[in-house]
């Protein structure tokens, strides 16, 4: 049952996202992120198999690109940046990590139960779709509850992953050129964001976005 394998991997990815919500260590977060993204490259391969060899080559290329760029490249870059700024922990902003964890679980539940009702077409795959949307939610929660600029990038990447998951499992036949471009777009975004974070660290001597409130009204 390939489909259930995809569901399993999707659920696993969502679970990593939930775990990330509870983790305060920056480096551990990135490792989880890498793991999560690696799972997607697995999903990508499985999708390729399930398409009965029609676009096998394209799926393999996509899986490889995801693995290299998103699962390896981006986390490594972020780890390097975090190291450079000697950032170790993000303790969270309004909600403490345990609360966030519970919220993330809620997002998973919501994704599982609610999403299939209106975000899936008839022949679609409800579980993966739910997990994809759950990732979207978790990414938002992550961004809203974290304090550091670099965590927001992480949150953004979780959202991006959710969308990617949805695209893989639901939007079948999506031109791979587009998917590829999306991946590279993410890479560029992270690179630019990373550079900006580095400059923020240099200028502000911190990367705490809750304290970046000079521009208001």
């Amino acid at each position: 049952m390939n489909l259930s394998q995809i569901d399993f991997l999707a659920a696993a990815a969502a679970a990593t996202a939930v775990m990330m919500c509870g983790i305060t260590g920056i480096q551990t977060q990135f490792r989880f992120l890498a793991l999560q993204t690696a799972l997607f490259s697995g999903i990508c391969l499985l999708e390729g198999f399930s398409s009965h060899g029609q676009h096998m080559a394209q799926f393999i290329i996509l899986a490889a690109v995801v693995l290299i760029v998103k699962a390896a490249g981006i986390p490594l870059f972020l780890m390097w940046a975090a190291n450079k700024m000697s950032i170790i922990r993000d303790k969270g902003n309004t909600a403490s990590p345990p609360v966030t964890l519970i919220m993330a679980f809620g997002a998973i539940a919501a994704g599982y139960f609610l999403i299939p009702q209106f975000a899936v077409y008839s022949a679609g795959n409800p579980v993966s779709a739910g997990m994809a949307v759950a990732l979207l939610f978790i990414g938002m929660i992550f961004m809203v509850t974290r304090r550091l600029a670099i965590s927001q990038v992480t949150g953004f990447l979780i959202i991006e992953n959710g969308i990617f998951l949805y695209g893989l499992t639901q939007a079948k036949g999506m031109p791979h050129l587009v998917e590829m471009a999306v991946v590279f777009e993410a890479l560029i975004a992270v690179l630019i964001a990373g550079l900006v974070i580095l400059r923020i660290n240099r200028n502000f001597e911190h990367i705490d976005v809750t304290q970046m409130r000079g521009l208001r009204h």
């Binding site: 902003n93 309004t94 209106f118 938002m140 961004m143 809203v144 509850t145 927001q152 976005v209 809750t210 970046m212 409130r213 000079g214 521009l215 208001r216 009204h217």
Partner: protein, 667 residues
């Protein structure tokens, strides 16, 4: 080439009017470029424009002229289309004949502002104001109307703000701009509504009757009332007019606010484009309140220009009463009443334009020569500036509707129409309204007399109260000429009523029943004036003769034996107005506060200060709290929403998502 050909089809009248437009545009452009020029170029060209306008009016005769400005000039769904019918001509004439003396007056006045303003800019704004006012009263469709209406507002705003180094002036100009824009907002809403009912932008195609007319009518009327300065939308008027340079106040108060009167007439009365059952009573009620409100607040003012501005509120109220009577007549099918009310209102519009410009010019001379606007600091100016004093007194007599001047002529016709209403009104309530209006107008007339006696006597008579007043001197000959010209116009239009009834009857014929006002003027005012003047002359000569025998002795004013009086002992404007003001004290919480200074202040005060205060409830209890509330709300909105926290912004995004899904997807 085609453009030329299309203009060629317009007849002579159109040619002259377009010439005026072009001349004013030349002044506008030159003024912007040559901002420091103070020579005779600007006034000369502007006056030539006014003369061209008069030529256009005269050439058009009784015919209605249509001017269609050719493509590519166009405004989306309607063109710059002008219709010049008797009503337009009446208002064009008002613009031209007040424009000429004001233009003549302006250089002398602007000279004293030369260090604080750019004369070129003022001329640019002034010519644009003239142009846009002409545009307003000629536009035959709503879009062109709004365009000119807004240009009028903007140009007058720029003029109000011309002396913008003063903080007060800036504040006044912003208040003016805000008020006028709110009015335009209402007007736009009304026009759009009327358009959605009729499907046309052309005024002549707007035939709205019945319940459908109520909504657009109310919106349009509020918009116009704001421009006209009708209670309770008059707030901006006494603030903006004093801030503007005197020629500008003169044209704004004399002519600009009348464009609203024009529009009411155009839309609601002539031709009955919009029929609205309660129009008459609405106009009457608001007119009466404005008239009373204006004059009673004018009594409280010491600032000469503010006082005059409040009198504009009063006179707009009087005009609106006339229009209200006219509308009542139309609603009850009494054509003579319709025409009399309309004729009175329009005639008073002309007259008010004349004497109000005259009075503002007088205030301008004083301002230019003494740098004073507070009448409490003036006094005795009649000895230093006799011409101004005489002209101002004539203007005051005219605005107080004293015979034989023009104010009397129009108010008399107005009284006649009230009487007609009281006589022929359909119901007892309507008839009683007629009587009531007579009483109100009499009360207002008496209050106006009180107010102008105060203004004239405190400013011009008695002894000078300050050094500035002592050093006063007469304005330049042009300034004097402008005032004398207007003063003569006051007399001429007061005596020449039968002649003026010709164009008026052309307008009243537009109400659809043929003109009936040919012989409403029954007073032989010419003969009576001659008799009066003869009597005056006879008595004067007799007095002169008697004084040959027993010459006049000159001595100090009686002082109860204390020696010559100091100017301080004169009656002040505040004291003069105090009895009347305290009678109506409930309207504005009038209070006299006496403070004494000194050690044993109770019995042996060193100085005693008495000051009257008033609080205008409309401003302090309604407008100010409302504006403050909006400001506060805006501040809170900004402070809370735009707090700088990126987390917050992300949460908005989530909330927006939920709302959008709720509206768009979940049924």
């Amino acid at each position: 080439m085609s453009l030329f050909n299309q203009f060629n089809e317009v007849n002579e009248a159109g040619f002259w009017i377009l010439t005026a437009f072009v001349l004013w545009m030349v002044v506008f452009a030159t003024g912007l470029i040559n901002k420091k020029h103070t020579g005779y170029f600007f006034p000369a060209v502007t006056i030539t424009g006014c003369l061209a306008l008069i030529a256009g009016i005269l050439f058009s005769g009784k015919s209605t002229v249509n001017i269609l400005v050719p493509l590519p000039f166009f405004l989306g769904e309607a063109g710059f289309d002008f219709t010049i019918d008797p009503l337009s001509k009446w208002f064009l004439a008002i613009i031209a004949i007040t424009g000429i003396p004001i233009t003549l007056f302006a250089p002398g006045y602007l000279h004293h502002l030369r260090n604080r303003t750019f004369p070129g800019f003022i001329w640019a704004g002034f010519s644009m104001l003239l142009l846009s006012m002409c545009g307003v009263v000629m536009s035959s469709n709503a879009i062109a109307f709004i365009v000119f209406w807004e240009m009028m507002a903007l140009s007058s705003f720029s003029l109000v703000a011309s002396d913008n180094e003063q903080r007060e002036t800036r504040r006044a100009s912003f208040i003016y701009l805000g008020a006028t824009r709110i009015g335009t907002g209402f007007l736009m809403a009304g026009f759009l509504w009327a358009h959605s009912i009729t499907g046309s932008w052309s005024f002549s195609a707007w035939g709205i009757t019945g319940a459908a007319a109520i909504g657009p009518s109310i919106l349009i009327l509020i918009g116009l009332a704001t421009k006209a300065g009708c209670w309770p939308f008059h707030l901006w008027l006494p603030i903006a007019h004093p801030a503007a340079p005197a020629p500008v106040s003169a044209i704004m108060s004399g002519v600009m606010i009348k464009t609203a009167i024009y529009t009411i007439t155009r839309l609601f009365i002539t031709g009955s484009h919009i029929e609205f059952k309660w129009l008459g009573i609405v106009l009457i009620v608001f007119g009466a309140i404005s008239a009373f409100w204006g004059v009673i607040f004018a009594l409280l003012q010491h600032d000469l220009k503010r006082l005059l501005a409040y009198h504009s509120v009063e006179n707009i109220g009087i005009i609106l009463m006339g229009l209200g009577v006219s509308a009542t007549g139309a609603a009850n099918n009494i054509p003579l009443l319709t025409q009399m009310g309309l004729a009175a209102a329009l005639f008073h519009t002309l007259n008010h334009a004349i004497f109000k410009s005259l009075l503002f010019l007088g205030a301008g001379v004083i301002d230019a020569r003494t740098h004073l606007r507070d009448i409490e600091k003036m006094g005795g100016l009649i000895h230093k500036m006799p011409w101004t004093a005489a002209a101002f007194t004539a203007g005051s007599a005219a605005i107080c509707a004293l015979p034989p001047l023009n104010g009397f002529a129009s108010e008399w016709i107005l009284y006649q129409s009230f009487f007609k209403l009281a006589l022929n009104g359909p119901t007892a309530a309507t008839r009683l309204t007629g009587v009531f209006l007579m009483a109100v107008l009499a009360l207002i007339g008496a209050l106006a007399i009180a107010c102008f006696v105060k203004a004239v006597s405190v400013a011009f008579l008695g002894l000078p109260r300050t050094d500035n007043a002592r050093r006063a001197r007469e304005g330049t000959p042009q300034m004097t000429a402008a005032q004398v010209f207007l003063a003569v116009l006051c007399v001429v239009s007061g005596l020449g009523v039968p002649v003026l009834l010709n164009p008026l009857s052309q307008i009243t014929a537009m109400t659809g029943t043929g003109s009936m006002i040919g012989n409403i003027w029954t007073i032989p005012v010419g003969i009576l004036t001659i008799i009066l003047l003869t009597t005056v002359a006879a008595i004067a000569i007799w007095m002169k003769k008697l004084s040959m025998k027993n010459p006049v002795k000159s001595y100090i004013t009686w002082e109860c034996g204390f020696g010559d009086l100091s100017p301080k002992t004169q009656y002040t404007a505040t004291s003069f107005a105090q009895p009347i003001s305290s009678i109506f004290g409930n309207i504005y919480r009038y209070a006299l506060e006496v403070t004494t200074h000194g050690r044993q202040s109770r019995h042996f005060p060193e100085t005693v200060e008495a000051e009257t205060r008033y609080e205008a409830y409309l401003e302090t209890k309604l407008y100010e709290p409302f504006l403050n509330w909006i400001k506060k709300f805006s501040g809170i909105l900004l402070m809370k929403l735009q707090a700088g926290s990126i987390h917050q912004y992300l949460i908005y995004m989530a909330i927006a998502l939920i709302i959008l899904i709720r509206i768009g997807v979940v049924k």
